[in-house]
Symmetry: C3
Subunit: 157 residues, 3 copies
């Protein structure tokens, strides 16, 4: 069992997730192989999303997760199999998208099914990321009239 | 510190959790030793559950987590001690059970206290799993009139 | 890559989180170096908290997370860098504070930025823990009139 590669693959996934939530788009790009494909099984926008190539993935994220949106992408439970310089595996996943401005919450859970490749520079990167939803819902924050945000990193000043 | 065994034990726990949520009952069974005992500290059904033996555990899960129920079992923070071919440890845990049909949510948190054994075939399996609840609540989804499911892997067609 | 040290550092963080939620204050103290500093970016009480020294941190937690409060501190996604006997890194983090008595929920997410030190006794301990909130909200449980607690480890008898 290649424990160092396992740790490196977990790290690139954690970096991807953190940098999506922190809107660090250049860092997100560096976690993806150029040929990376994303199948985000998120029907909130009407149909699941298929994005082909690092540029398309980062461009989509940059465009849609604009500054005023709060997102949390929380993954755990890695079950990874390494085969030389490629790897594949699953992760449990829970996420939230909150628009304070529009008073909307989207939340759900899934199991990621990812693939990875050790690139020419020795770094593991994501070549495929995707999931089928266990569930997803949307709700209006108006259903919770007492709810008050006490912190919002992305609040427009 | 036996890092390979640590990774293998984490893997069997992650597989158990994923396969419960994915309703893959034969795979759940393969994560349990034949003599496994479960003490699920879930009072929602009236009293904590004690299940004796792999067949009883899988039978209970199969019967109760019928297709229409959404579940998420999310564990992290393993603190595991290995002693030869046995191991024990704790995990932080959050779970949800959602019945879209009945408009009910059960949610809570706990710390798992598990024991494991390396079986004759070399695979680590769970010999005891259990938890005392930190908290658990039930709520009706009718309290959130705007809530709308946009995905449900287990929806009856 | 020092995989044993990585596992030890994860373990001390998990122990800190578990023992905060379990109100095991002496065990929390043992996860902190004497000179530890905490910057809890939790504005719910009016302003972020800065606590200087192990005694101040444990004293604050002991005083504020009194028995009747339910807390969950859930961290995952460690990205840790070790440099000899010191280390630093980030964690994704979600937490809840529930006062059943007052019918209040505080919930949020953040990324921890921690530092660690291998102490004279060979144990890794936290020297700095802190986070900036991604978001935090407070809400009254009265907005969910059907909500009923079926378990509460800290209920006053």
């Amino acid at each position: 069992m290649d424990l160092v590669a396992l740790e490196e693959i977990k790290r690139v996934k954690y970096r991807y997730l953190r940098c999506v939530d922190m809107k660090l788009w250049d860092d997100v790009a560096d976690t993806l192989a150029p040929e990376a494909v994303a199948d985000y099984g998120t029907p909130a926008k009407g149909k699941p999303l298929q994005l082909d190539g690092r540029e398309a993935i980062v461009g989509f994220l940059r465009e849609n997760l604009e500054n005023a949106l709060i997102t949390t992408h929380f993954a755990s439970q890695p079950e990874l199999e390494i085969d030389g310089d490629t790897a594949a595996g699953t992760w449990a996943f829970e996420d939230k998208v909150i628009s304070v401005e529009h008073g909307v919450l989207i939340a759900g859970a899934a199991f990621y099914e990812d693939r990875y490749r050790r690139c020419e520079d020795g770094q593991w990167r994501i070549t495929h990321t995707g999931y089928t939803r266990t569930y997803e819902y949307t709700a209006s924050l108006k259903d919770l009239p007492s709810l008050k945000f006490t912190a919002n990193r992305w609040a427009r000043s």
